[in-house]
Symmetry: C2
Subunit: 237 residues, 2 copies
């Protein structure tokens, strides 16, 4: 936890918050419960600053806070990710969030196992937990939006043309040429398939929508490796 | 398992192998035990090709193999990685291997917990298991070499100058400027610190050795995210 994220209902006064939950436990467990101790804080979807512990007891602490900084700039990308298996989804969501992605579409694909869509992890509150962990890691405050799209065809035909308008639209596909089209800071819509890749029908549908195929080379990477490897190419040089 | 890796003692004849272990179980579990079925195979530290199932029973299978391809080119990098916590080490080793790194130095740093060095995962056989998983994932055959260096100072003073000679020597450090020095295909020695980063003494020692600091930006990333994000910048453009 490199940043303590605050919500509106933590506030007891304009510059004062009371913490009781997981965040209190974390500070307790890591020996940071000391009066006067400065802590990095941020408001969810707001600014970043510092907090000072004013009082604490065995169940809660009060912080006086000051906000003096904008969160880091977002990565200019809309990520379309074939729904990974639940165990991997947690890590991938945290990683993607820590890299600054703000628009995440979890989409269906022929090679996504149907059962994945039934995972409790896809409940709004559970998704939010993973996003918060990613923000806390990266010292960011802006919550990504996660959109679930269980049907590939209507998503690609009806919604995607509007989404990718004005962006560089790319799909990671093992048989493609190199990475040239993935450029730092360029607004990008990036589609990443499931283990085993998108099927030809899906690649064709994406191509009709203006997507160009790119590849990290002949090695086949796990989603959790491919995602940061691809997103890294969008970071300022 | 995108590739079945074969060892010398699997061979019963020059082009024939018998499989009994984990690899047999995997093919059984994934419904691939069919006579005539072609499979991607590779020889550890050797060539890649295809195998055909000739016979099988409940405990083993025989493959006739043909080798017709070199493994993918290695990534021209020597990776120095502050020893991660054991749970993360597994994933990081698999990921690093799947990206084509062949020289991995797990090094000490002030912020590496001493207990990590006692992990059973650091035994040669256990390390090898993770490397094999990474190779199978990426369809590669060349086993990375993992070197354990439990003392930072003698490593950096006595061994590192020779190691990084003739390469671009870079250390990932949050306060540094951007990534400019990390260029595709350039022989590189890349040092990545522990969660919390190298301490100033260590950064100074690396600087004396010719290392330049680079950064992925103001976000703080977990090692498992930072490593593929950094290595990706070395892939051909």
């Amino acid at each position: 936890m490199n940043l303590i994220l605050l919500e509106e209902n933590d506030f007891s006064a304009p510059q004062r918050v009371t913490l009781r939950d997981r965040r209190f436990q974390h500070l307790l467990a890591t020996g940071q419960l000391q009066t006067g101790k400065p802590l990095k804080i941020g408001i969810i979807n707001g600014r970043i600053g510092s907090g000072t512990i004013i009082v604490f007891d065995e169940q809660s602490l009060d912080l006086e806070i000051e906000l003096h900084q904008a969160p880091p700039p977002p990565l200019p990308v809309t990520l379309l990710l074939a729904l990974p298996r639940p165990k991997m989804l947690k890590r991938v969501l945290q990683g993607v969030t820590s890299l600054g992605v703000k628009q995440i579409y979890l989409i269906n694909s022929y090679r996504v196992e149907k059962s994945f869509w039934g995972s409790p992890l896809l409940q709004t509150e559970k998704l939010r937990e993973q996003l918060l962990l990613g923000l806390e890691q990266a010292r960011d405050t802006i919550l990504p939006q996660v959109h679930l799209r269980k049907r590939f065809k209507p998503f690609v035909e009806d919604e995607l043309p509007g989404l990718c308008k004005g962006t560089t639209a790319l799909v990671a596909h093992p048989t493609a040429d190199r990475l040239g089209a993935l450029q730092p800071n360029r607004p990008t819509t990036l589609a990443i398939g499931p283990e085993g890749g998108f099927i030809p029908y899906e690649i064709n549908k994406l191509a009709e929508c203006g997507f160009t195929a790119i590849s990290l080379g002949e090695r086949i990477l796990r989603v959790e490796t491919a995602v940061p490897a691809l997103l890294s190419r969008l970071l300022p040089g």
